[in-house]
Symmetry: C2
Subunit: 248 residues, 2 copies
DNA sequence: AACAGAATTTGACTCAAATCAAGTGGCACA
DNA sequence: TGTGCCACTTGATTTGAGTCAAATTCTGTT
């Protein structure tokens, strides 16, 4: 069992590309075996719905690769994204039988699922799983609250700049950063998904991206590939001097 | 040790008016003794700041009586409320030394505090505390996400109706409901605090409350005492057919 | 290379909420 | 009984983002 390549935040384990630190850190083989026995993989194509709000959900899961979103809707169709699930993020709630949100794959994704009941039983017996989940949930709560500030008080331009800096920041942690200080990445979301995330319309998203481009804050190749010549400038546009470390 | 009057959601314990179910449910006296030894009370007057974002915070706490708020601000002063703390709600984060938000008393409050370091150590040894905190944090996350939908997609009128129905609902659980189906309660927030919660200006809050009054959705005595003749009507105005059970 | 369909951009116009600016009303305190 | 303050209301006006309606660009397919 390779313990070197433990992923910092996942609950996945065993031969997952991503490992379960909570288990590995104090590894006991029977725990690993048990997690193995209740684990299975599911993959979804871009655009597919993983689960609808209100549906029965008899598993909890960890995103292995790809990007998924959590959304809520009002009856008249207005929709708001309430979470962006990146590799290693956790979905589902121990102790709850039905999904609270729509979960949709925005890229092709692979999820590592654990059958809920046995997972819950295991959590009862294995304290550090609950402790690890608590840390992860508190982080998500912080991210949600940061997002509330964005939704309630930022202008459209600030919202776009915030989203770009979040994507840039998390991409930068994976890709190499150019020596010139320029940052470059691909947007993993359509304009509509961005709008749903930011509480805007897709037209406004498009206009503000155009405006940021016109003003030299970003450069675009095609519709999705973005390069940021000066990250500090973008962070100023985002409106918060904070390190922008939320939501990742 | 009276176990009958256990409060459903608190971590407070011992001779607190509110008891700690996570402990009491599987009560062991040494745990109770230990919680007692790291516990102390603090009270604040309406309007006082409990702690500023960024300040050192060497305790976690549970609200015993009164109402407090969590807020975030942008440099230019725009502020967004990100949490409303009602009796039994938990503040602070195990493992974090500084406050992430401003905590302000909006009414006189009494808080039951636990010194953070010993609390964390106790949490390590007492699994059901972490499990209980996990449940509470997941509930808060759900409430935050419900609020994101409100901030991102609801109209001013819907926002006001949503806030009123939340306050009504949680007040109704304490006070008796009038046999005629009329619900009555006091607003625990100023117009400005409501605005900060809803991502509006205080003028818009005032106008929308006037409009709801004009349309007979609510009645007002003075500025703060509200009666709702028909709760279903208010829920329809709030825009979601859901039971509105969030945030309480 | 041409086409179909989707994603995106852009334009003209509207409208909900913000802003700016007086008000009013209630309450504490002299 | 006044007076000053604060919370709140209301009005006039502006404005940022939404809506509706074409274009345009991109993608994959035949």
């Amino acid at each position: 069992m390779a313990h070197d390549d433990v992923h910092p935040v996942s609950l996945a384990c065993g031969d997952c590309p991503i490992r379960h630190r909570a288990v590995c850190a104090r590894c006991e083989s029977d725990e690993l075996d048990e997690l193995e026995s209740i684990k299975y993989y599911r993959s979804f194509e871009a655009g597919q719905t993983v689960i609808w709000a209100g549906d029965k959900m008899d598993f909890v899961a960890s995103v292995v690769t790809g990007i998924a979103t959590l959304t809520q809707t009002l009856e008249d169709g207005r929709t708001q994204m309430v979470g962006l699930l990146l590799p290693s993020d956790f979905v589902g709630r121990p102790g709850r039988a039905t999904a609270a949100y729509n979960v949709t794959a925005t890229t092709d994704i692979l999820m590592c699922c654990f059958r809920r009941k046995p997972f819950e039983e295991m959590m009862e017996r294995t304290p550090h799983i609950a402790q690890r989940l608590l840390q992860m949930t508190l982080d998500e709560l912080d991210a949600a609250r940061e997002w509330m500030l964005l939704l309630g008080r930022k202008t459209a331009r600030e919202k776009i700049a915030s989203l770009l800096s979040i994507v840039a920041r998390r991409d930068a942690s994976i890709k190499l950063r150019n020596a010139t200080g320029r940052t470059t990445f691909d947007l993993p979301l359509t304009r509509e998904a961005m709008a749903d995330y930011l509480g805007l319309t897709l037209e406004t998203v498009s206009r503000q991206i155009s405006a940021l481009k016109r003003d030299g804050v970003i450069e675009l190749e095609g519709k999705r590939h973005v390069t940021v010549p000066d990250m500090d400038r973008l962070l100023i546009e985002a409106g918060d001097d904070s390190d922008g470390g939320f939501l990742v």
